[in-house]
Each structure stands twice: as C-alpha cells, then as structure tokens.
C-alpha cells in the first residue's frame, strides 16, 4: 500500500517536473544561490576553524596538553632534564639564544627577532636600569659594541623528547630529529621556516655559537619544519647539545632583560598529574618559588570556538536571508503552478487520489527540486573550493590539502530540504483544498 502511494507519487512528480522544465529551472535558480550561500558559509567557517585550530595547535600545543612554564634558574634545567629523561608522556623545551654565522660580530637580527624587523630599532637608547625583586636597581653596563657581520641570532630549542606529540610540526623539507638513535657527536639541527629564511637570505656561514658554550661547532642541518613561530628557531636533541655544552645555562640578569636566557617550556600529556607533582616538588626543593611556576591545560579549541561562533552566526544569518529569497522563489512558482494545475488536481482526486497523497505529490515535486538544487549547489561549492585552493592555496599553507568539509554538504542538503518543505507546503495545502465538484462542473 505504502509503496503504491510512494511509486504513484514518484511517477506523477516526475511527469510534473518534465512537463514544466522551464518553471522547474526558474525556481531552481534562486534556490541554488540560497543553498550555495549556506554551503559556502558552512564550508568557509569549517575550513577557517580547521586552519585556525592547526595554527593554534602549532603555537600552543594540542588541545588538553598541560603546559608548564618554569624559570631557567636555580638548577631547574638540570632537574627537569633528569626527571623527564626517557619519558614519552612529557617533553621539555629548553630554549636559549644562539648565533649562527661569523664569530664575534653583531647578528643581523639581534635578540633573535623575526627578520622582517631586523635592522630596525638599533642604536643607543641611554642607560638601562635593571631592578631585582627587592626593588634595588643598578645601571646595566652597555654591552661592548660589536661590528656588524654575517650572523643571525636564533632561539635554540633543546628537546628532551619528540615534541611533535604535542605540537604537530609540519615538515617542509629534509627530516625531523630522530630521538631513537644514539646521540651524534656532530649536533643535528632542524630549522623552522624563519631561521631557514634567514640562513638563505643572508648567506650566513654555518657555524654556531651558543651563549655559555665554550667552543664553536658546525651544526648539521637535517631539515626544515613549519612550527607556527615568527621567531627564527632551531631545534635539536638536548643530549646532543650536551656533548659540546655540558651544563645547562642559568638565566642571567642581562639576557633575561632582553627576553632571552634559558627558559623551560614543559608539555605534559593530559592526566599526568603525578609527574607534575613530582616536578613541582623537586623544583620547590631546589628553591624555585611556586609562584614562578605555571601549569595550565591548553584549551585552544574551546576558546577559538566561542570566537568563531559569533562570526559563523552572522554569516549563517546572511546565508539564511539568501535562502529565504530562494524559498520565496520556489513558493511563487509553486503557487502559480497550482493555479495552472487546478483541473489536473481536481481530476486526480476525482479518479480516486486522496487529499493527503495529492498534497504529498505537490510537496514531493518541490522537495525533489530542492534536493536536486542542493546537490548542484554542493557540487558547485566543492568545485569552487578546489579552484580556489589551486589558485590561492600556496599563499595559505595551512589550507593545503583541505577537502570539502562534509558538514557543508549536510548543511546544503538540509537547506535544500527546508526550502523544499517551506516552498512546497502552501502549494500542497492549496492543492488539497481544491473542491472537485466545482472544477468538474459541466
């Protein structure tokens, strides 16, 4: 019985659409734009969210990661190093500054700033005061002026383990550090894109100086990664660093002032509370004050979603308006068609079709149109995304490899369905209310 009704509806709906191709097409045009708008907004915000999330993950770590910041003083680097040795559930980044290039010269980007700003803000600004926590200040001696030379300053990050479990670095070229093998005598380093750019741009000799290190080394560059950082950075294994710089450096007043010095950045897997307690206890025991240690979970997704939600709502609102225009178009054509088909509908009921089925068929015709339109709009959206990626993809590296998000497809189908229902319901009710006796009167 049900299948009889359903099949009848299909046959009749198909006949109706074929008999009014132009009308069907016209009602599809406006709806197409509406559904396309919804698809575009949905796809756009979905892609933007993913792109933002990967960038945020690169910078602050994956969602849920517990990050700890510990000052690089009072033996903290050594404590952290020994505590985390051989562990995979936590990694520390021990950062200090290093200079790559001619020895004994002032680097192009003094302080390790991005090269974009290199050469700006040089010069003498008068005496610099440095104050300690007790409030007693002393004038800092101006560092002896070094001659400018072919060298760049980078932030050198020594890793106790593979940081990619917490920060999804994207490979650009070469390979990443291999933490499984025995430490090499010639230190291997991986550059971030900014450091690679500096090396390339300024044709710097590949020799490396580290503050506090006793001798120069020639590092072996094995790869370049995208780490989402503006600062030039080089990554290396902490154990390899130790072969030519046996002890961890302490932060001095002068390099702390410059934002440099040794800093400890810890990444712990969610749920590793015991390890956190252990570290804290050891550090406090060594005299590091509790207030200077910070541990907190990364909640990038949550924060970002609330930021995106408002944007998305605004755009969805606009898309909804466009969709409404599409619905009005379908409704308009649908009502006109019912007017034209009064006799057909009365006749169908006269030969035994029920009111409900007649209404269902009118609704099915617009639903079919709506779904067909949605399919076309989704196809157009997906094709448009591919074209856009081909044209602009290289400028936005985080978008490379983006597929058309299925959420946008679902949104498009829902929009098509809603439009079909809204645009078909009134004509369907009208059709069901046509009085047979009046129409068929001779």
């Amino acid at each position: 019985m049900l299948s009889g009704k359903f099949r009848s509806a299909l046959v009749i709906g198909g006949q109706g659409i074929r008999a009014r191709k132009l009308r069907t097409f016209l009602s599809m045009v406006s709806l197409f734009l509406g559904v396309l708008a919804v698809v575009a907004v949905q796809a756009g915000s979905e892609i933007a969210e993913r792109a933002m999330l990967t960038d945020v993950e690169l910078q602050s770590g994956k969602d849920g990661t517990i990050r700890g910041y510990v000052p690089g003083e009072k033996g903290a680097p050594a404590i952290v190093e020994s505590t985390l040795k051989g562990r995979t559930d936590a990694v520390a980044m021990i950062s200090s500054n290093a200079i790559i290039g001619e020895p004994g010269v002032r680097p192009i980007n003094e302080g390790g700033m991005p090269f974009e700003y290199a050469g700006q803000g040089r010069g003498y600004y008068g005496p610099t005061m440095i104050c300690d926590s007790n409030g007693s200040c002393q004038e800092q001696k101006q560092p002896e002026k070094k001659p400018d030379g072919q060298a760049i300053e980078v932030s050198m990050v020594a890793l106790t383990g593979d940081i990619r479990a917490f920060k999804p670095f994207r490979p650009v070229s070469g390979s990443w550090l291999d933490f499984g093998s025995a430490p090499a005598l010639a230190p291997r380093i991986v550059l971030n894109e900014e450091a690679a750019k500096g090396l390339r741009q300024y044709r710097v000799p590949g020799e490396m100086t580290i503050e506090g290190a006793t001798h120069h080394v020639t590092p072996q560059i094995i790869g370049v990664v995208q780490d989402g950082d503006m600062q030039p950075r080089v990554y290396m294994r902490l154990d390899e660093l130790r072969t030519w710089m046996p002890s961890a450096t302490e932060t001095t007043n002068s390099n702390q002032y410059r934002g440099g010095g040794t800093s400890l950045d810890l990444f712990l897997q969610p749920g590793s509370d015991d390890l956190q307690q252990l570290l804290k206890a050891k550090l406090i025991g060594a005299g590091v004050s509790q207030e200077q240690m910070q541990f907190q979970a990364v909640k990038s997704k949550e924060r970002m979603e609330s930021e995106l939600r408002i944007m998305r709502l605004i755009f969805l609102g606009m898309a909804f308006l466009v969709l409404l225009i599409g619905v009005a178009g379908i409704l308009n054509v649908g009502l006109a068609t019912v007017g034209e088909r009064v006799e057909e509908f009365a006749l169908r009921r006269a030969v035994g079709m029920s009111r409900l089925l007649l209404a269902g068929i009118v609704l099915a015709e617009t639903l079919l149109t709506g779904l067909l339109t949605a399919a076309l709009a989704i196809g157009a959206g997906a094709a448009g995304l591919q074209v856009a990626l081909m044209m602009f993809g290289s400028r936005f590296p985080s978008l490379v490899g983006t597929a058309f998000p299925w959420e946008a497809g679902v949104a498009g189908v829902i929009a098509g369905l809603i439009a079909g229902v809204l645009g078909g319901l009134i004509p369907a009710i009208r059709a069901a209310q046509i009085p047979i006796a009046t129409v068929m009167r001779a």
């Binding site: 006269a350 089925l357 001779a442």
Partner: protein
C-alpha cells in the same frame, strides 16, 4: 433493444446505489439556495438512467453527490446496501477509485501526457499498485474497448473531440468500475460522434455496470433504460 435487456433481470437484484431524500443547500454569498430537495434515486446493476432537466436544475450537483465529490446536507446514501452518508474523505477517495468512472462534457485530459498515460492516470492514484506491464495491458484493453487502441501514443492535442472523449471514457473504464457517471459527455461533440460515444457508454452496461447519463439530448436519453427529469430540485 437495451430496454428489453434491462428491465426484467435487474429489478430482482439489490440496488447498486440508493439515495433517499437527498437535499443540497448552497450557502454562498447572500441567501442559502436549495438546489436539491428530497431527491430519491436508485440505480441497479446493468441499469442505465438518463437525467434530463433544464440548465441550472441541479443535474451536475446530483452527479457530484453520487460520485462523492461533495456531500449532501440531508438524506441518506447507500452503496451496495451500505450506508456511506457520512464516509470520511479518505474512504470516499478509495470508493471513487474502485466503484466509479467519470466522464465529463470537457474531457479533462492532461496535455503533457499521451492517451495511454492519461488512461493510466486512473491506475496511478495511490489506490494500490500494479506492475508496469499489468498497467499497460489494462490501459490497452480499455482503449480497445472504446476503439482507439491505435492512438495510444498520441497526445490529446493531436486527437479529435470524439477521440479525446473516448480516451476519457477509457480512463473511466480502466479500473472496471461498477457505475459510470457521465455529465453531458456529448455536449461538445457533433451528432454522429455523440451517438458513437453514447453507444460506447451503453456497451459497458452489458457487463453489469450501472450508467447515469446527464444529457440535454432526448434521443440519447431514450436509449437509456430509464429517463428521469429534474425540475425545481426534485424528480417528477
């Protein structure tokens, strides 16, 4: 010849349909108007009835009540002895499909469909479903019955008035109804074509079908088993 066929056999059987004291009042703008008042009407299987009456006497209104297009304000309606006076619309649609065949003065064919598809319309109405081949066979049988099987693939715009009306009759016959209701089916046709159409309709009564023919043509009316005239909303 039809009279001799009708009268003796039919009276002993139970009536196909029976209307008692049917009243229809039109409540449009202004005064309510009584179109039909206390009409009694009976049709037996295989019986043919002609309804005469001048324009506006309520013939079409009566037919629309018999065919369940509309409901009476008073009176009772029995179909095969069952009281269907207060039948819900959903059931009425099923009865229209199974029991009645309709033919109108205007043919009401759908322009975008072929003759065969127009006939198949009565089969594709949500009241049951038969396979395409079975449908095709039923359609061809109905078209043969009215003598235009060769025009099955033609669109209505390419058919003459008589041919179109015969397509409409085939559409009324395709579900093998018990009663044919024809409202001035010859009104738009010339005399000769009209005669042909009336013959086709009368033929259906040979298989026990009831026929109610509304007409202005006394010659056609005389061919029916019974002739009734509506005047002032009642038969006399």
């Amino acid at each position: 010849m039809t009279q001799s066929f009708d009268q003796p056999t039919v009276q002993v059987q139970a009536p196909l349909l029976q209307l008692n004291g049917i009243t229809k009042v039109l409540k449009g703008q202004g005064e309510p108007r009584t179109i039909l008042s206390g009409v009694d009407f009976t049709v037996h299987p295989g019986q043919s009835v002609a309804i005469l009456g001048r324009s506006g006497s309520g013939k079409s209104t009566l037919l629309s009540l018999i065919g369940l297009f509309d409901r009476a304000d008073e009176g009772q309606y029995f179909l095969h002895g069952n009281d269907i006076t207060k039948l819900p619309e959903r059931r009425a649609a099923a009865l229209r499909s199974a029991e009645f065949g309709f033919v109108f003065q205007r043919f009401f064919l759908l322009k975008h469909l072929t003759a065969a598809q127009n006939v198949a319309m009565a089969l594709v109405n949500g009241q049951g479903w038969s396979a395409r081949r079975k449908r095709k066979q039923q359609v061809m049988e109905a078209l043969e019955q009215v003598g235009i099987a060769h025009l099955a693939k033609s669109k209505p715009t390419r058919l003459s008035g008589g041919e179109q009306q015969r397509v409409a009759i085939a559409r009324a016959l395709v579900r093998q109804p018990r009663i044919i209701l024809a409202d001035e089916p010859t009104g738009a046709l010339d005399t000769e074509t009209g005669n042909l159409v009336v013959e086709v309709l009368l033929n259906t009564t040979r298989q026990g079908c009831g026929l109610v023919l509304v007409t202005h043509d006394h010659d056609h009316a005389r061919k029916m088993g019974r002739v009734m005239e509506l005047r002032d909303g009642r038969f006399n």
